[in-house]
């Protein structure tokens, strides 16, 4: 008799922290980059990429232990993962669940691809982009980024 293999969780549940679910497939590492989480930071992470999803066909998931992400932090990831959901976990229970909203202004998140832009010099400013219908517009030089936004994330 052929028995179906037992269902297994790909990544074990976390006790406390944040689970970011429904990330656009392939964007998990960029999400971490936006959140400023790198290999040298102390958070314990679990990352699953290209997981089969009923709604999205494929998706990525990121679990961050012992860190509850703030709304301002997670909204920045909406740029590359607009369908992401944020689950705040305490004692293995989801205590808060929210979507992401693209903020109207992004400060210090994206580098202006225009090499002639004043924001790419040593002036005491951070990059600043307005989120417009067609993409992101540099507040300083008016340059419009319409595609491949992740490539310009600082």
């Amino acid at each position: 008799m052929n028995e179906a293999p037992p269902r297994q969780l790909l990544v074990s549940p976390i006790k406390n922290g944040t689970v970011i679910d429904h990330i656009t497939a392939g964007e998990a590492l960029n999400v971490l980059k936006i959140l400023g989480i790198t290999g040298t930071t102390s958070e314990r992470l679990s990352i699953a990429t290209n997981v089969v999803s009923r709604d999205m066909r494929r998706k990525d998931i990121v679990k961050i232990e012992n860190r509850e992400l703030m709304t301002e932090e997670v909204d920045r990831i909406a740029l590359i993962a607009p369908r992401a959901t944020i689950n705040i976990i305490r004692e293995y229970r989801v205590v808060e669940k929210k979507g992401v909203e693209i903020p109207s202004v992004l400060i210090g998140v994206v580098r202006c691809p225009n090499p002639g832009c004043i924001s790419n010099t040593d002036e005491p400013i951070e990059s600043r982009f307005e989120v417009v219908e067609k993409g992101l517009r540099c507040y300083y030089c008016d340059n419009l980024i319409t595609r491949d936004i992740a490539r310009h994330i600082i």
Binding site: G116, I118, E123, I125, K134, C138, Y140, C141, D142, T146
Partner: protein
């Protein structure tokens, strides 16, 4: 505090009001002395002749005085000072700052740190609102802006004056005809924006195909460094040259504009034709810049 940084910050009503103010100053309907007892810093970190001189003249005609920085070499920038610090310091000396800088967005940055009004006199390949406003002013002297046919010819990729003019004209539902050499076409992002704002854009291979339909022909400079070699440059320049022959059979009221300096794009024989308005356009820099200075000093 009111700054003039980008033509994109202007609504149609604001453009119309400023052009009307310039007209009243130009026609001596209103005598403006709004800079009496005031001093304006002309910070020009990039070479400029006509913009700097016409701003200086505009300040003087409004009763004000100027202090100038004419190059990076003559300023503390060479010692490593940031533009942010420079404008903070200069703000303490003067009542307004007119800034020309090689970096795009420099004027926007300056407006964040200055404690006096800032006027952008050109930032790199970016915005140059006083040029755009004087272009509009010159067109408006000959015809209403609404719904006209405007041909943009030359380097439309790097030519900032063409971009800003096209953006400003999008308030007036004009029809744009673009004529540019391969690789120097109007950037896709700007076309996208213009179309979104309701501007019809027609890309044309030859200026001859559309010249008879145009009300305005706006010529921009072809820069030698944009071409792989001199021979290509000369060939393209010849095929884009505005000559008396090209202008035969055009609308009587056609006007030919050029932000100047020209480098062979317009045959000097065109200068004496009734269509040539580029020297008048340069002269219009005075009333328009006077109106801008008055606006920020209010």
């Amino acid at each position: 505090m009111y700054h003039i940084i980008s033509i994109l910050d202007f609504s149609r009503e604001q453009i119309d009001a400023l052009l009307e103010k310039a007209r009243k100053i130009d026609k001596h309907i209103e005598i403006e002395r709004s800079l009496e007892g005031k001093q304006v810093a002309l910070l020009f970190f990039e070479p400029s002749t006509r913009t700097r001189m016409s701003f200086a003249s505009a300040v003087s005609r409004l009763g004000g005085t100027t202090i100038c920085v004419d190059s990076v070499e003559g300023s503390s920038i060479i010692k490593g000072e940031t533009l942010a610090d420079t404008v903070r310091v200069v703000s303490g000396y003067v009542d307004a700052i007119v800034l020309r800088h090689p970096k795009e967005g420099a004027a926007r940055l300056a407006s964040e740190f200055a404690t006096v009004p800032v006027i952008n006199a050109g930032d790199g390949a970016g915005q140059h609102p006083s040029q755009t406003l004087l272009d509009l002013y010159t067109i408006r002297q000959s015809m209403p802006l609404e719904g006209i046919n405007v041909g943009l010819i030359g380097d439309l990729r790097y030519g900032r004056t063409a971009h800003s003019l096209a953006q400003a004209l999008s308030h007036y539902h004009v029809n744009l005809f673009t004529i540019a050499p391969n690789g120097l076409e109007l950037p896709e992002t700007i076309q996208l924006e213009l179309r979104d704002m309701g501007t019809d854009i027609c890309e044309c291979a030859e200026v001859q195909d559309v010249i008879r339909d145009l009300d305005v022909l706006y010529v921009t400079r072809l820069q030698r460094e944009r071409f792989p070699d001199s021979a290509t440059y000369v060939n393209v320049q010849q095929s884009y040259k505005v000559t008396p022959q090209l202008l035969s059979g055009v609308k009587d009221h056609l006007i030919v504009l050029h932000p100047l300096p020209r480098a062979g794009e317009i045959d000097p024989a065109v200068d004496s034709l009734p269509y040539a308005r580029y020297f008048e356009q340069a002269r219009n820099g005075i009333p328009v810049r006077m109106a801008m200075l008055r606006e920020v000093m209010q």
